[in-house]
Amino acid sequence: MAEVACPMAGVVAEVKVQPGDTIEPGQELLILESMKMMIPFQSETNGVVKEVKVNVGDFVNEGDVVIVLE
């Protein structure tokens, strides 16, 4: 089981995956609103999403686990 950590602090503006989705490197997982910009956050690995731990509007800090993979 792998965990995907958020690369920078910000507010979740959009969640682009849901449990059961197969993801691959380069795929957008979340859009973060940070530093007054919309910053896409891409996957670095392959995997299947088990759990999305954040909702739109949540503040996430750098290093927080946002997605759990199977």
Partner: protein, 513 residues
């Protein structure tokens, strides 16, 4: 009976065969590494080697050259000095003569003012010999002392294609560049075994100090190589951007047109400041084709640092990468830029800054990491550099990001802007929030509130319009995007002969670290 000459020839032949066959077999088959002298053969021009200390410890059959080969040789006709650990001799460990040989080749490189290359592959100090090679004036510590003294005077280049343990790991780290070979290279202060004994941590060698870890997480490694042959080629490529020493200019090559035509450069830069794009697409439209050599590519990717050639002449590029973390400057990106700027400045490589930066990261996480300290470091390096330097505002340049990317206050020879540029203390959204926060909160109707905010943002955009800044001579010129490459070539040609800038006499500054 053999003559004296034949006897000597036989001894030298034996030494040139390196360590015992069983050890050589292990190096090749178990580790999958090249032998020490095979590496030199690939790296150096044929017949160019002059070797010192070949006879070191020659009375001991199994200690050929005492485990390190120290030579002068040529790379594409250029003189270099090399220290190469021989893993087939006692795992490349250091004894008394090993250390003396390393010190001597370093002294030779300094005297001749030629690049010093370290091919590192060593188990470390022979503990049984420690009083002859660890504590004294010409013992191991002096290797690092000399590295510090020659830093910035001659290029120091390392290929890490084996272990480099404890104090020995400072040899790579003191170099200007470490090319780390996948799976073979490893450096660490304490080995996994040591970690388990002393602090109870269980960790693999790869996790502890492997090439991938150092190139992507710690930032100690600079270049990641798939294998040894690639690493040796990369070393040659790296050297092609550098002069022999700090009082020379870097070598000039045949000019080449960019890989991608600059005609469509406007298409790759979105006008909306908040939409990410790939800064490499700008770089490929400016620099000579096949001239890119990137440093710390896998680490702190929100900033890009690399050598390139512009019309045949080497430059160092520092570029924000909006595609990664919005191009925001973090603790590591500031360190990465600082290190690269100082490297270029030390060896007379002109600097080109390409800006699309929303500023330094905000928040308690980065404050605790000391982002002020790290940001200071980058700003310091920018101020300190006296090489020809041009900064270009590609898109946004907000807050201290403008200063850190060599904006007008930091004495670039020119600060240019594309028509997509926006230079401001902060972006319109943040600025309107900051100035009108209370007022915005008081407007109850969401529609009205949005209307107010949009109006104020529009006003703000007009205030900081790039034509207004150009009209006020804040920037030196605006450039039609398709003319950016030719403009840079023409400008650098004027700046390249400047005699250096006035600096106050002093020992050295007190840079944040």
């Amino acid at each position: 009976m053999a003559t004296k000459g034949e006897e000597l020839r036989a001894v030298r032949e034996r030494i040139l065969q390196m360590g015992p066959e069983r050890h050589k077999k292990r190096v090749k088959e178990d580790y999958g590494k090249l032998l020490c002298r095979e590496r030199l053969e690939i790296l150096l021009d044929p017949g160019s080697i002059v070797e010192d200390g070949l006879m070191a410890n020659c009375l001991e059959e199994e200690l050929a050259a005492d485990g390190v080969v120290t030579v002068l040789g040529k790379i594409n006709g250029r003189d270099v000095a090399i220290m190469a650990n021989d893993f087939s001799v006692k795992a490349g460990s250091w004894g008394e003569r090993t250390v003396e040989k390393i010190i001597r080749i370093q002294e030779t490189a300094m005297r001749l003012r030629i690049p010093m290359i370290y091919l590192v592959d060593s188990a470390g100090l022979r503990i049984t010999d420690q009083i002859y090679c660890f504590p004294g004036r010409r013992h191991a510590g002096r290797i690092f002392h000399l590295q510090a003294l020659m830093s910035g005077m001659i290029p120091q280049i390392c290929i890490l294609s084996g272990p480099s343990a404890a104090g020995g790991a400072y040899i790579p780290t003191f170099c200007d560049v470490i090319i780390c070979v996948d799976k073979l290279g490893a450096m660490y202060l304490g080995s996994p075994r040591m970690a388990e004994v002393t602090i109870g941590e269980k960790v693999t060698l790869e996790e502890m100090g492997g090439s991938k870890m150092h190139c992507s997480i710690s930032g100690v490694g600079d270049v990641f190589a798939e294998n040894e042959e690639q690493a040796l080629q990369m070393l040659k490529d790296y050297l092609s951007y550098f002069p022999q020493h700090c009082f020379e200019k870097p070598p000039v090559y045949e000019p080449a047109e960019p890989e991608k035509p600059i005609d469509d450069i406007e298409k790759v830069i979105p006008e909306n400041q908040n939409v990410p794009f790939d800064m490499y697409e700008v770089i490929w439209r400016i620099i000579d084709k096949d001239s890119w050599f990137e440093m710390k590519k896998l680490w702190a990717q929100e900033i890009i640092t690399g050598f390139a050639r512009l019309n045949g002449k080497p430059i160092g590029i520092i570029a924000n990468q909006p595609k990664v973390k919005g191009g925001v400057l973090f603790v590591d990106s500031a360190d990465k830029a600082c290190r690269f700027i100082r490297l270029c400045d030390a060896f007379n490589i002109p600097l080109l800054y390409l800006m699309d930066v929303p500023g330094f990261m905000i928040g308690s996480k980065v404050e605790k990491e000391g982002i002020l300290r790290h940001g200071c470091k980058m700003l310091y390096a920018v101020s300190e550099a006296t090489v020809p330097k041009i900064s270009v505002v590609i898109r946004k340049a907000y807050g201290a990001g403008l200063y850190a990317m060599c904006g007008p206050s930091h004495e670039p020879d020119a600060c240019l802007a594309l028509p997509t540029a926006m230079v401001a203390v902060m972006g319109p959204e943040a600025a309107v929030n900051a100035v009108y926060y209370n007022h915005i909160q008081e407007i109850k109707d969401p529609k009205e509130r949005m209307k107010f905010v949009m109006e104020k943002q529009k006003e703000y955009r007009e205030q900081v319009d790039i034509y207004k800044l150009a009209a006020n001579l804040i920037i030196d010129d605006m450039v039609v995007p398709t003319q950016l490459r030719s403009e840079l070539i023409r400008r650098f040609a004027y700046y390249e002969n400047k005699p250096g800038e006035l600096r106050y006499p002093k020992k050295h500054g007190v840079m944040q670290v």
